[in-house]
Symmetry: D3
Subunit: 282 residues, 6 copies
């Protein structure tokens, strides 16, 4: 679905514009027009592959004549040295696209890998790992695609994709129940209403007002357990707040529906890839 | 200079478009029109602040009527709990801008902090830390601004910002000296010509052909020393290749002009910030 | 919130670009530079005002120096002859903006009026009027704003704003329950899951699979009543299908949560407005 | 010619961006990658087909691999149940495009149908039906294409497409003759000069000053006849002003060159279409 | 009116993007943040000033805080050394804007000057100088503004701004009269219809078919006189075809309504300007 | 490499948008849908061809189905009457593209021709001709491509493509040596540092501070010789300042590395081309 998404195409174009600028000074001077090449993208460290369709889009934006093949499927665990993609065509175009292509694939592979590692800690629980909106500006759709590849479920994709009444809203409007009621009557009918709660009292009031999901931020495991018992599965429960994999695994034992972790996007180190070219006849 | 840069404005707009989409479902339902608020941005972990001008631009794009003040200067070391920025104005606008603003500031603070820590390991050497083009797609100008804030010098900003003949070029055109000569005669006259070299033989040929800078990728410290001795300061020497701070400090002792490190951008964890709102009368 | 929305700004800009093109041939030739004018926007027929913030944005895009005042609030019922907005400033700019401003306000007033009239037929029922995605391409956010002004609640704002499994999906994937289960596990966690059902058998299967909302398309009032009885308020029920105000009022008596009507957007005639200018001294 | 028009492509892209946003939550979750489908677009009510080339452009923007065929030609009268277009290819892409495609075709069919019905009332007269600039913002080129399909002639396409001195201009510059003279000497040489006149005195002055076309707004049929007699075919005459088909037919008997009607665009109800998908093997 | 024109704003933005790219490497390194400066734009050769509003727009796009004053009015004849504009504000912003501002003003001054010189040769004749569509891609609106400043009248501004049936059309459709008739019935009603004619026979046929303007391309002065006599002022006559000022003056004696000259745009050398900065206190 | 450059694609699109606007009024009315044509682009004066890839891009943007062939290679000297390009396909699309295609090719051929003529005067010298940033706004990449075709070398492509400390910088920061030192330490490492110098004293200070290139503006030939002697080839020397071909040839005798000339872009008259269509069967 990445191919169909206009936001993805726009970040691909912006990325190419910022890297190409007035032109590739090196390639233009050094590589003769008409030279043709074969390229392979190779993993330099183990991890989870994500971003092949974006690599294809980068190449297509630079030159529609480039042939592209994704050798390893999205979401596969790859080892250092594995060839994951191949492309061939105009050598200058491949050189122009190289860094942008790699920067996307390295970033998305990093996110997918970090998510896979995190999600593995929740294996066997009913608790589902969610991502957050703490994503790199401009790469929201891509990074949330990578978290899905890694095994998380998306929380909301944007401010338009659901209702989440947070402390900052409550600080402005005062009454929790009133806020929830307005959220339930005035937001789009296909949005769920989630509310950030800090105390058992707020939990009760939120449920009375009709919240669909409770967001427990920075609660202890015991507090989480107490909320879940109170909710008795009528309302969904999400736990967040600087959740590490270890902390997530611990809290998952008490059975929240979701734990959400910004770290799988905002602190995922990139997965290393390189592109190697060789000359071919045309 | 970020304010003047059209590429920066475009990523700010794209980031807002992807987060706002068809509108902020929560704020629109919950927060009455005309509500006014004061916001403070607070560091939740220690680090180096970078990105205040981008925060200002995010707010300005959402609502020109918001007042903004950067309390702590760019590049300052901040502690957890420090208030670094303040803003006030329309509460709905502040809520709409919140996540995008924080995502920029967290990312750039992360890069600045990682760079500062890395550069600290080179303190006292003549060797200068360079960044790379391994930056998040669309954020090149911003992330390279953050590395400067952190204490690095920029390598080239884009494919248009200098000539770097890499192995992929050489794989296509064959002769190193011929490639360098063409680079020197056919590229813009204000670009330096840097060449990636792997052997002492290539070092010699590169210098004969007139290279301005040599890029030593994955050489040992002893090999680097040998190259530097040979160059005798007539040609600049850059060392790269999965350089960690420790490895960089070690190689710096033999005196290259530059070490370059992709890690300061591609693997910098974000620096944590939060925004807190309170209602004010307007 | 329209002011903050990038999609709104883009359609405003596109509308101005298509009307201005290479320039206003008349005004440029006829009206001397520096002429100043006061403008009033006057309703030529009764209806519900909507779109003042867009009028302001049109003027701001043409000339930031124009003063604008909305005399009558959004959502007010106005009579023929009522002055609803005033603006003053550079006369050429006002002439350049006139048609685009009016075209937005006439369209949005038309939608708000049609919605208000439709919603009035449901007064006193618990059934809420929903809009649809049958909106003019490019004006989605604006037209759905106008339906809210008119008294409807928004259904989903876009393909990203909720899950609605329709007949076309079911034609492709076969099993209703399997489709709903995948929708519930793989879509963003803050999206509700709605399913289009045609028979009582499908109603039962949809509820078993966990659907949040049922969409009853082209069912008779008796069939709707039967579904509602079966659901017993555990699942929400929406009725759609060429619903006229009369048909909606009739079906509302049996108590669905929602009726949705495309007609309030796709077949709303425009509300007529004119702009009158007079010369003022500067 | 729609295919060549950049304004058309921009509204198509904007329409897709607003509907797709961060992605189609339903399709992505429910329809497996690689599913293929055949789609048919079917009229659900009688009317005049317009917009096939836009439907093709919508599909092409979503996925270049979709095959498209327009079964019924532009401008044909179709009956409820008629299949008017067929497409086949990636099922997810077809689902993503569905609503946007239909919204364009329904709007343009509505305009073409309303125009055809209006123009039919003028059959047999020399009077030609003109459209106006009262078109939906962003859809000017498309809606004026649809009025042509329906049998109208375009008035001016934009502020750049001709000179029309209206009352608002005259309110600012005072003298009618002076305004016309400046319009004739300072506007592009291939623009005709039309002037809105309200009295016989103004008619005389406009003709003396060299107006090419007179716009009679809200004149009675007798007044129109008097103007036409006076003009004696030396100057063209256009009648406007809330002209209904009946009123237009009546005034056409006295022989104006043109009647113009905003209603064919601003108050045309949409023509109903649906898209039906079925699964095919790839 | 330049300020209101979206096409002008787009070329200004594109020009700044291409010159700024990833940032002004010199200014950023050399000029400290916060430095303030006063700038004056000085003519380095005599000519006709045009483009002040564009200069203002360039500065505004770079930094809204810069104060700008146009010292000499548009269209004034200036001498070498004349200060024509002044600006003051952030020194870095002024340096970033300098080249783009000058490139616009030099280009537009060049066009205005060439036009003024050409038009002077027609002084005293009734023949009006027209420009053409041979303008620099992207600068159409600006260059045609400059020809007006220089004393020409605009021909059509774009393909949408009038009908001109040229030899290439006739080569495709065969019959001249048929082409004109279709042009008269199917084009927007406020467009004049001009036809390129090469022989007296074509002149007659064009007039019979109702052409509004005849375009005589590469006819001798005697042939032009013969056409004008034949037309007897009922149809307007335009003479074109590599018209130099001398040739234009000669042909003007026989009295065509218009001569058109591409040279005033496509071969106008730039008018030289420089910008000088000095430091001021803030 | 033009095909890969996003800035080139943007100016091509902008040029088409400004010429097409709401549509080609003539072609739409006169040329029947489905007409097919063959087009040839013919030189009407001798010169150097440049811009074939842009012509191809213009056609592709208008209609991907047009076949295009460049008959004469880029950089060839052509004579009046030579056919340089051929295209065939939809006749309406060819007519829509005609003027924009020609305007690009005429402008770029003009620049290439002027550059070739200028460069010829330096034949046999070691001095290389450089272009400047005095290019038409929006056409930087294209015009600098044309100067390369003509035989010049590019100076810097943008403010981001190298460091050039000019008098305006020095007027703000005072000390020449300090400015150069900051330029050398704080600019991207692959940028050379050039400094504008006016006196021998400044030459000495610039060299001491480490400048890579000296820009001698408005120096006499003797002064230039003196600087070159002093530099003794350790620093490169560029001569600029209203350099005519004759003056350039004269100064080249004393051996500067570069002379730069704005005239090859800003005062190059266009090279004349025409496009001729003929009807073909499809």
């Amino acid at each position: 679905m990445l191919n169909n998404n206009p936001l993805v195409r726009r970040i691909v174009r912006l990325a190419l514009e910022e890297d190409i600028g007035t032109g590739d000074a090196t390639t233009e001077a050094v590589v003769p027009e008409g030279t043709r090449a074969a390229a392979r993208v190779v993993a330099k460290a183990p991890g989870v592959l994500a971003g092949g369709p974006v690599a294809a889009m980068v190449l297509e934006e630079v030159d529609r004549g480039i042939a592209f093949e994704q050798v390893v499927p999205e979401g596969a665990e790859v080892a250092a040295g594995d060839v994951v993609m191949r492309a061939s065509g105009d050598a200058r175009a491949l050189l122009v696209a190289e860094r942008t292509l790699l920067d996307f694939v390295m970033r998305l592979g990093g996110v997918a890998t970090a998510t896979r590692r995190f999600a593995a800690r929740l294996a066997g629980c009913k608790t589902v790992l969610l991502d957050t909106r703490k994503t790199t500006p401009g790469l929201r759709v891509l990074e949330k695609y990578a978290t899905r590849i890694g095994g998380a479920r998306n929380h909301r994709m944007s401010l338009a994709g659901g209702v989440l009444v947070k402390n900052n809203h409550l600080a402005l409007v005062g009454d929790l129940k009133d806020a929830i009621r307005r959220a339930k009557s005035d937001s789009p009918s296909l949005c769920r209403v989630e509310v950030e709660v800090r105390t058992m009292e707020e939990v009760k009031r939120a449920i009375e007002a009709g919240a669909d999901v409770l967001l427990l931020d920075h609660m202890t495991r015991e507090e989480v357990r107490e909320v879940i018992d109170y909710c008795n599965w009528k309302v969904k429960v999400e736990v967040s707040g600087n959740v590490t994999p270890d902390a997530a695994a611990a809290v998952a034992e008490v059975g929240p529906d979701f734990v959400s972790a910004g770290a799988v996007t905002h602190s995922a180190p990139w997965m290393d890839f390189a592109m190697y070219l060789e000359r071919i006849e045309g």
